[in-house]
Symmetry: C2
Subunit: 645 residues, 2 copies
């Protein structure tokens, strides 16, 4: 009897080391071609540097250099002023794939896979056969350590080729130097674009880029404060996988179901934990180790039925609408766009991981009218430059019918065509990238939905803005007619008839029949003493320095109706701004709006309103968002109906 | 002195198990959402089954079933008649990531990563907490073994939960049954599409799909022969990475450089190996173990300078132009397209791996005129249904200016708009997928270029076809005029003048001044005895069975020039066809064309030519490609200039 083929086949079965796997599949890591390889190497180095600095509370000062380019090879250097890495860890961190500190923690960070920087060294070794050089210094009073590293891909381990102590001027930091096969000529532009975009969404970082010919670009920091430190949290029960739940129960230290729920998950207080147990018909005192699969299933289903608080956003560090606006303004300063609108969604959850979406739209100016809208994609403050086609951001944008918002979109889906830039930032404790090269977000329904909602919100603001403009222009025509031509006619007629000029107020109000609200925002430099808060709103950004800007908002309200009008007016302002002088005295000031209960305005009479905002850059706030209450909004030009509480 | 932050950070560094990594990054493997998860699970199972059958020379008979769908969960079953798997290997193959037989071999196969099927089990366990069931039988006279499997993700190892012997009717085979979280309602269509597309490019496979409601779809096999078995080869020297070269030198058994080159690389004979050594200025007898990095560099550069034979295509199994044409015809049978053209490129190399590109274009019929062209993408006979946006196939197609070929393409790049379907197949010993989910090909320049060349070739054929059609229509008008109206006028005038009808030949030839070639292809069923080859061409497909089709090609050549014409005529035919009767006697028959040295044709005289082709399906060959030699092609309608040898 011949031996079954299965025995023959079994002999060929082999384990594959993870380093070997990625060595053969380098395109998965973003090293598919020499242009991209250069970009990916710089990106992984810089992402790592930023994470290390932020984790240690250090304002990042990052230096990137590309040198000695030949047709085949060049040297990439990334240096930071971070906390450094202890000698023993260097081979693990830089030359061992799937090794890192950020994989197991639920917190927003750039790195999350433990692959990036080791992949750069792996690629460098694969394509040049040369070893990488790492310099690291962990404390000012200690010398730096230089390590030359190779990777044993069969074992997925770093091999120290040489190690020596050396002097380094920095108090602390890390410097990576890798030789790699790269196309410097074509890749340079991508490196520049990436560093520029990175600096836009990381205003606290100073980034220097030295080109091979010696040209230095410095992207200066524009903020001296680190972004809010992201707290590490527990997974949120919404969307946690059944398998993960079972695995967590095996690893918990809790001996009772209720305490397991409270300690190992976020957003779980006594009341919610008990409600979940009751819903699942499980004893709160059950030992997690003794729970059966069916009981876990009941628990898993109970998560969905009980109302659980949204995840804390402490673990997330969104860019913020003001900063998005600012970076879009910066990106388009030579284009003089017609308007910029932003929208920010509340935090949401997918498979247990909190995430948050922020978007911005720039419209008009010199942007090309016949090209697809330009997309700027960011994930956890990393610019995504490749793989736009299959990113959840692209899919979400393409699925909106933009024709309703005045953009061209042949066949009603796809990237719209028109003079606009769309920026999207997704912040999450775990970005679901489509591959290890971290260039596109996977098609997770929850994320796509949030992106859609954010863009719809933004688009609605645009529509509102356009409608308001159209309505204002129309009313303005009427206004001009009656306020300029009517008195002229009255005067001439009176003169001809030799009669006194008749009072026109009643006629004007009858024809206009609206309350007209007009506003203007001007900026003034702060001189002398720092501005102080005068009102009860709490400031999210703290003390305002002298030398900054004050936005002065002047609002004129005229009653062109035939009866006196009395109503409430609301003016929204950006969350990070600090309110200064307000006239007349407002009824209420929160962290996002000012409310006035206006006194009664007689027909054809006018009220002037003024408020000042500090803590903004010039241009952060260009146009008031005004709302009215206790008046039919159909009669108001320049403000909408207040829908707030 | 406070401890450096680096020590604190070092404590958090941890190894990540590969199973744990993919468990948390399941979107990378194609399990990003429940719809896609269903599709991916079926795909991995079927790809595996097809590979196993083909490797063992078994005509695949594959059964796919999805059952018990709830809103959250369903059961996926994939069963094959392959060689089975020995008991000891089951936990490794199905529940250990990065373990397999195809990773280390240079040969075209669907699986190449050692991840696919284990990922399905991993996802199933993660989302349902249930174990997978594997049944395997390796020999007719042995019982089958049922194994219940779990995965220990911390260790990346399979854990046998239960194993028992059972009876199974099949001679041999494997059956996988996995519970998983999936959206059956939305995912069903993708499973169907995938199985249908798979059956198109794998005509030797019989695939049955049983839906959850019991409906069964059978995709019958249309060919009883397995595709050519792909040989395992050594890496090709072109594009092999320097690091890989060094690694190979460490692992070789050869003790001399020349023999290392000959035994460890493909396309390396004595002469080439010596030429490479000479070019690199290296002694042929050098021990590979003693070669320095600089010497390797010289060797690596010498590879590029010495002309090395293209890689053998024995390791590749392209679909073939006829089959592509046939599948496109099948895909569009309700559309009645105007034409189908195909093109096939010779094998090429990227980073040491041979690959080959084949494309096809269907045009016209009822295909929508205002939608982007439909792309059908295949890699190693696997249909690629997702991530079209960032696939090298898409990028290559989008970079061609299709407006030159009569398709609409706003802004001159991007997927063209028009009534067409573009099919692309990339066959390679290693497809560079963008991620482990194997849904898109990475942007490797060599591959993109070959795809572009193939489509340009195909587009040129289309252009030629269109030009020929336009020219023919124009000449036809002239032809109708002079052959119908002129004699009519002559007759009437002669009648009126009471004179004899003048001879018109000279006038006709003077006005036409062309050689007119027209052809028609008709199909006839083969009856009785199998057709036999009559001529010297070698048949690539072997014996033609009775009951097949014969294509009868009739070519009419008329001389409408004023002098006798004598020239050579060439008719191309598909490579897999067998030539039957040919009249008049040809001068030459190769495996791709027939040549006639035609006798001199007098003015207004006609020659009829006929040839028969067997071994084709009806419609495989619709239109002759005719070429002429020894005559000014500008005077010929219906054939182009012969550019061959």
């Amino acid at each position: 009897m011949p031996e079954a083929i299965a025995y023959e086949l079994a002999k060929k079965q082999k384990e594959i080391s993870v380093a070997e796997f990625f060595e053969r599949n380098k395109h998965i890591l973003g090293f598919g071609n020499p242009t991209r390889a250069l970009f990916t190497s710089v990106k992984e180095g810089v992402d790592n540097a930023l994470d290390a600095c932020e984790e240690s509370g250090i304002l990042p000062d990052i230096y990137v250099e590309v040198k000695n380019p030949t047709e085949e090879e060049c040297v990439v250097i990334v240096e930071d002023n971070g906390p450094g890495i202890i000698k023993q860890q260097v081979p693990h961190i830089f030359a061992r794939l799937l090794y890192g500190s950020r994989f197991h923690s639920v917190r927003q960070s750039r790195g999350q896979q433990g692959i990036g920087i080791s992949a750069v060294l792996l690629y460098g070794q694969l394509t040049t056969g040369k070893h990488a050089k790492i310099i690291s210094k962990i404390q000012d009073d200690q010398p730096a350590v230089l390590t030359e590293l190779a990777i044993d891909t069969n074992k997925n381990r770093g091999e120290v080729q040489h190690q020596e102590i050396m002097h380094w001027d920095k108090p602390s930091g890390t410097r990576v130097e890798v030789n790699l096969n790269a196309d410097y000529k074509r890749g340079k532009r991508f490196v520049y674009d990436y560093l520029q975009s990175t600096s836009i969404v990381n205003p606290h970082a100073r980034i220097t880029f030295k080109e091979a010919d010696g040209t230095e670009h410095v992207f200066e920091r524009t903020a001296d404060i680190l972004p809010k430190k992201c707290e590490e949290i527990q997974p949120h029960p919404y969307g946690v996988e059944l398998g993960t739940l079972i695995k967590m129960s095996k690893e918990t230290k809790a001996r009772k179901l209720a305490s397991f729920l409270k300690t190992d998950f976020s957003s779980m207080g006594d009341r919610t934990a008990n409600a979940v147990c009751d819903e699942a018909k499980l004893d709160r005192n059950l030992n997690p180790a003794d729970i059966s699969r069916d009981q876990f299933l009941a628990l898993h289903q109970a998560f969905k039925k009980v109302k659980i608080m949204a995840p804390s956003t402490e673990c997330l560090s969104p860019i913020g609408e003001i900063l998005i606006r600012r970076s879009l303004k910066n990106e388009t300063r030579e284009i003089s766009p017609e308007f910029i609108f932003t929208a920010s969604r509340p935090a949401s959850v997918f498979t247990g991981s909190p995430f948050q979406v922020e978007v911005g739209i720039v419209y008009g100016g010199n942007l090309p009218k016949d090209k697809p809208v330009k997309l700027l994609r960011f994930a956890n403050r990393i610019p995504l430059l490749y793989q736009q086609g299959d990113c959840a951001i692209t899919t979400a944008i393409a699925s909106i019918d933009w024709r309703r918002y005045g953009l061209d979109q042949p066949s009603g889906n796809g990237i719209p065509i028109g003079p606009a830039i769309f920026l999207t930032h997704v912040a999450s404790t775990k970005i679901p990238y489509t591959s290890e090269s971290k260039e596109a977000i996977a098609d997770v329904e929850e994320i796509e939905n949030e992106i859609k909602l954010a863009f719809r919100e933004c688009a609605r603001k645009i529509q509102l803005h356009i409608n308001k403009k159209v309505r204002r222009v129309k009313t303005r025509e009427k206004f001009d007619l009656i306020t300029k031509i009517l008195p002229e006619i009255a005067k001439k007629s009176a003169h001809m008839l030799n009669k006194p000029i008749p009072p026109l107020e009643k006629v004007i109000t009858k024809i206009m029949d609206v309350v007209w609200i007009e506003d203007v925002v001007e900026y003034e430099k702060v001189r002398g003493k720092p501005i102080q808060r005068k009102l009860d709103a709490t400031s999210p950004t703290g003390q305002i320095e002298s030398g900054g800007w004050i936005a002065k908002s002047t609002i004129m309200v005229v009653n062109y109706k035939s009866k006196p009008q009395k109503f409430n007016l609301y003016a929204l302002f950006p969350k990070d701004a600090v309110v200064g002088e307000v006239k007349p005295k407002p009824t209420k000031v929160t962290d996002s709006y000012i409310k006035w209960s206006l006194e009664s305005i007689d027909p054809t009479k006018k009220i002037d309103i003024l408020f000042e905002l500090a803590g903004l850059n010039k241009g952060d706030f260009d146009e008031n968002e005004l709302y009215v209450q206790n008046i039919n909004p159909a009669y108001v030009i320049g403000a909408d109906k207040w829908e707030g509480e």
